[in-house]
């Protein structure tokens, strides 16, 4: 049986991941690295499963998930509205575009203390910071998505008597879809990062808070388990959207 290039690549890729985990296991088991600093991979994975069984951990996960969801659901429509305004109105485009770019370029973490001052420590502070981390990238990507709509396609639709709302739903939406999906995926990375960061900085609950506590208390097995968990969640979401993206890749012209 011969493997296609893609199958071979994915085989090698899997091998690399397995090898890295193996190396990790080996370094720790042999004592080449102090196991108290680097617990074996198998221990970290076992801890992960054990943690997932704990109600406290589940509660933390729920807290983080709801913060991420609320921040995302707020940031996407607000960002999209700003992006639409920038792309569709010449005047507002001129006014807002540089502002969005300025804000986007600033490292958002320097604003963390201000969010605590404004919202206290809790749900609103973390959602607020997640929103703030996400909204600018959504605005910029939406503007790019609107600009990716070909005027020719709009003219064609008009020539066939399409109404304004038909042009939006039948031309704008599908034209924007590839760019929008990519935008959503990247926005989620920003959003998740923002919420975790806010949790690690100052919080009483959430997975980010748990990870930062484990780090401070030198609970390395839990710390590594937490890192693996967050990485897995992020990768899973990312891959799910990428799968959808690939399905409409050829729409880009």
């Amino acid at each position: 049986m011969t493997l296609s290039e893609r199958q071979r690549a994915s085989l090698v890729r899997t091998a690399i991941v397995v090898a890295l985990f193996g190396l990790w296991e080996l370094l720790s088991r042999t004592g080449a690295v102090n196991p108290r600093l680097l617990p074996p991979a198998s221990d970290a994975l076992a801890t992960l499963f054990e943690l997932l069984g704990r109600p406290k951990m589940r509660a933390d996960l729920m807290v983080t998930a709801s913060e991420v969801a609320v921040a995302f659901l707020l940031a996407v429509p607000v960002g999209a509205a700003i992006g639409l305004l920038i792309a569709e109105s010449r005047y507002w485009g001129e006014v807002l575009r540089p502002l969005v770019f300025f804000l986007f370029s600033i490292p958002k973490s320097i604003f963390l203390p201000m969010f605590i001052l404004a919202f206290g420590i809790g749900f609103a502070q973390k959602v607020g910071f997640g929103f703030f981390s996400t909204v600018f990238i959504v605005a910029m990507s939406t503007a790019a998505a609107v600009e990716s709509v070909k005027p020719d396609h709009v003219t064609v639709a008009r020539s066939f008597g399409a109404t304004r709302s038909q042009i939006v739903s039948r031309i704008y939406l599908p034209s924007m879809m590839p760019v929008l999906l990519e935008a959503l995926r990247i926005a989620m990375i920003f959003n998740f990062t923002g919420v975790i960061l806010a949790e690690m900085y100052a919080s009483r609950d959430g997975i980010g808070h748990a990870i930062s506590t484990w780090g401070e208390n030198f609970q390395m097995r839990q710390l590594f388990a937490g890192v693996i968990l967050v990485a897995l969640i992020a990768i899973l979401f990312n891959e799910a959207v990428r799968w959808a993206e690939r399905r409409c890749e050829h729409w880009r012209t």
């Binding site: 020719d152 064609v156 639709a157 020539s159 066939f160 008597g161 109404t163 039948r170 599908p174 879809m177």
Partner: protein, 266 residues
């Protein structure tokens, strides 16, 4: 007597009538007169080709005939009635480049115009789309996406889409400009076949003088901006047109005349 007069009048209603049509772009102070005082009639079933130097207003004129732009002056009648907005039941448009929607299959692209109105049930719309694809020689390619089709095939789909609502008038803006010469020749023959089968009135814009003479009943030559019609040349070559005519004396004479007109106009 009156009924008789009406009948003759009906018969002579031109498919397209332009009366002193002009197009001015831009705002006060910074205006471009793209088209100036263009008047002509196109009789039903005729194949008219529009040529002229680049930027002389050919596309502008077509956009106005399609109802996609309002003339700055004059008026346009299609089938005897003014055209104020796009009316796909009267006018179908085939655009310059591959303007197909890449997210739809060939069949869905052709069905698109029909789906906007929803007067027909979906199965009937798709049947009609397949019929049109068959007409342009693309039976069997219904499920292909545009990126899976060659340039010539894409333009066939565009033509099928322009014919979807069976309009009496078909406007074509340099539909074959992006094709290689061989494909272009084939597509010219195909278009003439489709035109003969469907008996449409066609207004066709091109930069190729050979293509113009080969296809046309009549070639209209436009001047450089502001675009006006400076010559109308009847092509009295018999149909069906054949490849051999290209080297003939009549063909050469017609082409030379058009070329001289364009050169003095530019």
């Amino acid at each position: 007597m009156r009924t008789l007069a009406n009948v003759t009048e009906l018969r002579t209603t031109p498919a397209i009538r332009l009366e002193g049509v002009g197009q001015i772009y831009g705002a006060a102070g910074d205006t471009v007169v793209a088209v100036e005082d263009v008047s002509f009639d196109v009789e039903p079933g005729k194949f008219v080709v529009l040529v002229g130097p680049s930027g002389c207003g050919k596309s502008s004129l077509l956009m106005m005939m399609a109802g996609l732009r309002h003339p700055s002056g004059g008026r346009i009648l299609v089938e005897g009635k003014p055209i104020d907005e796009p009316d796909p039941d009267r006018v179908g448009v085939v655009f310059q480049e591959a303007s197909l929607f890449p997210w739809l299959t060939a069949e869905q692209n052709v069905e698109f115009p029909l789906s906007l109105k929803r007067t027909l049930p979906k199965t009937e719309r798709l049947a009609r789309a397949r019929e049109r694809l068959d007409l342009v020689g693309l039976a069997g390619f219904e499920a292909r996406y545009p990126h899976e089709l060659s340039g010539g095939m894409k333009q066939r789909v565009s033509i099928a889409r322009g014919l979807a609502q069976d309009p009496p008038v078909l406007l074509m803006d340099e539909p074959f400009a992006a094709l290689d010469e061989q494909t272009r020749m084939t597509m010219g023959d195909e278009l003439l076949r489709i035109w003969a089968e469907t008996k449409k009135t066609v207004v066709f814009v091109t930069h190729s003088l050979t293509e113009a003479v080969y296809l046309a009943d009549e070639v209209m030559v436009m001047s450089a901006r502001p675009g006006r019609i400076i010559d109308r040349i009847k092509v009295d070559l018999p149909r069906p047109r054949t490849y051999e005519m290209l080297g003939g004396e009549i063909f050469g004479r017609l082409r030379d005349r058009i070329w001289r007109q364009i050169r003095t106009a530019a």
